[in-house]
Amino acid sequence: MSKYHIEIPSHFSELFGRLENSLNGQSDKPYHRLRKKGSELLMKQGFPSTRNEDYKYTALNRVFNEKYEIPESGKISAQGKTAIESIKKITQGESSLCFVNGIYQAEFSSLNLEGVQLIQLSQLEENSSKLRDVLEKIDETISHTDNPFIRLNTSLCRDPLLLFVERGVKIDTPIQLIHYYETENSSLIASPQLIIMAEESSEISLLETHLSSSSRNNTCKVFSNVFQRMLVGKNARIKHHKIQELNKEDFLIHNLIASQEKDSHFYAITADLGSRITRNNLEVHLKDSNTWTEMFGLFASNGQQHIDNQTFLDHAKPHCESREWYKGVLGGRSRGVFNGKVLVRQDAQKTNAFQQNNTLLISDNARMDSKPQLEIYADDVKCSHGATIGYMDSEVMFYLKSRGLDEQQAGELIKIAFLAEVFESVENESIRNLIAEKVIVKLRTIYES
């Protein structure tokens, strides 16, 4: 174990065995080999310490110290049902996949789209080529990743899923991924895993929401450790929208790796409003030329919240374009971290990469650590990056007040205006409005102290 890691605490290492025992019958299925491998690799690797450059500003002790239960499947409260139903309404509930504590709930889900299939890996024939493909991808990822949370997720994932979009199928209405968390008397670790294969010239849009129930013993915490792998095929498009509104004691580590084939488009936006600690690990690998990648982020925090966005974009091929913009408003004693790496390899001529991070601090006690990094090995490229961290402009404030807006109205307008460029990147109007609405509500709670 390197000096950049700490040993996996025993209350974590025990979890795999506990899951294994509860799997009855599932443990001789092919996927279980990956759980085992994930667990073994994790034990060897350990968890990251703050000596690790990528975790310098994000201490996860709070996450590691908590003792979690592995959620059981099939239980959901009446309150949970109501919450899920109301989230479904956002898209008329036509296509929605529901997860309670990270476990897929078939009976609350529906997906009736021609050419789109949701497959539980456990349901696939053991010698089917689809299963082989998927297992190979996951195996490859957990073997080569330096991200221990992907290994943790794989070792604890009860019901891995595949969303398969057939060649040429274009779906405009967003497919909802509804994550709901509830617990009464113990802390929980959720480990949802989803592989998305968008075949050649297909298009889908996803709306992922994370929400936790507030009625619980208030010492209990939810730790959701998500892993998603998205394969964007030739000339295909995936648009991924995420809104996170967990309880203020909960943790989210969201791991997403996307890879893009020739002429493909990947768009991702994350709006992080809730949780005690959020860490988004977003990686995009460009496998071929002429791709278009967009990564957007909004964060709005107060109190003791900590929101960390880590992105890695690997420009490995020529004629690819990327645009990355993260913006946040921090109040109270909250902290934000942005660590965005863009690697432009020697082969990636004619790359056009833009990266920007801007933060508005509302309070003197809030803090932002921003590290945009551009590593360029090609000579014929157009790349720019930058970061700003600032306070509210008193000239702007005075101008607005001189028109009769009070402190609160003016402040709200400034904060929303600050985030506007990121909102406006959302093409789908109802999603854009939804994100704006949620962000505005959150902004109203962000003050100086």
């Binding site: 000239e395 702007v396 005075f398 101008y399 607005l400 007040k401 001189s402 028109r403 009769g404 807006l405 009070d406 402190e407 109205q409 003016a410 307008l413 400034i414 929303i416 205006a417 600050f418 985030l419 506007a420 460029e421």
Partner: protein, 253 residues
């Protein structure tokens, strides 16, 4: 409606206004002229309540109350409007949303019903047409990338919708082309009424041909050193400021 008495104002320990006295009655138009840096904008900002400016002595009474007690937004709701010499650009705030917001918030403050979307649109269209502005200006971000003249027209548009009791217009004429000067002046003139006062800050007598003032004051080095009627502006245009010796100045004439 406005009584300024022996007003002294400092910015970062430098005294800028050094005893200003001025009274404006309802229906009057006062013009203030004076060299660069003499404190004209400072006076405007102090009336609007900008907090970088420290009032060290003197008083400002507005409609029978102590103006200095009020916050900038309260002053605006009480009917004070400042047209900025340099309007602030605010990217991300749409001009139309901003106008709607300020209209309804001022109406609310006055106990009037808020306007619905349709009434709002009608009002904005009407005011915009009166100022020969293009409706496309509404869609843009507030003052963001506006030309100098567009910003000034936008200030007047805001004044028109807010219907203030006392409007302070700080160099609203600079940056305007000849046609725009006429349009903006017409806009101001159409708002002249027996219960509304204006304080017009300008460098150019030309504006005062359009907006004819009742009084003209000369502000030099933080003091009003001369007051007169509109003919004073003509005299200033001809002779400059040199002939007026600031009161208490030690420089020989």
């Amino acid at each position: 409606m406005l009584k300024i008495k022996d007003l002294r104002v400092s910015v970062e320990d430098t005294e800028i206004l050094k005893g200003v006295n001025l009274e404006i009655k309802p229906g009057e138009v006062h013009a203030i002229m004076g060299p660069n840096g003499s404190g004209k904008s400072t006076l405007g900002f102090v009336l609007a309540g900008k907090d970088d400016y420290e009032v060290t002595s003197g008083s400002i009474e507005y409609m029978g109350q102590d103006l200095l007690e009020l916050d900038p937004d309260e002053r605006a709701r009480e009917g004070i409007f400042l047209g900025f010499q340099y309007p602030v650009e605010i990217p991300g705030v749409s001009n139309s949303n901003f106008l709607k917001m300020i209209i309804n918030s001022i109406r609310k403050a006055r106990g009037q019903e808020e306007l619905d979307a349709l009434q709002m649109l009608k009002l904005l269209k009407e005011k915009i047409a009166a100022l020969s502005m293009d409706v496309s200006m509404l869609k843009r971000s507030l003052n963001d990338g506006f030309s100098g003249g567009e910003k000034k027209r936008n200030e007047i548009l805001q004044m028109a919708v807010l219907e203030p009791k006392l409007a302070v217009l700080d160099e609203t004429d600079s940056g305007l082309d000849i046609d725009a000067l006429k349009v903006v002046s017409d806009g101001v003139n159409s708002m002249r009424s027996s219960d509304r006062g204006f304080l017009v800050i300008t460098h150019y007598q030309r504006l005062l041909n359009y907006i004819v003032p009742d009084y003209v004051h000369v502000l030099i080095d933080g003091k009003i050193v001369k007051s007169g009627d509109k003919s004073l502006a003509l005299e200033l245009e001809e002779r400059g400021y040199d002939w007026i010796k600031p009161e208490g100045s030690t420089v020989p004439a």
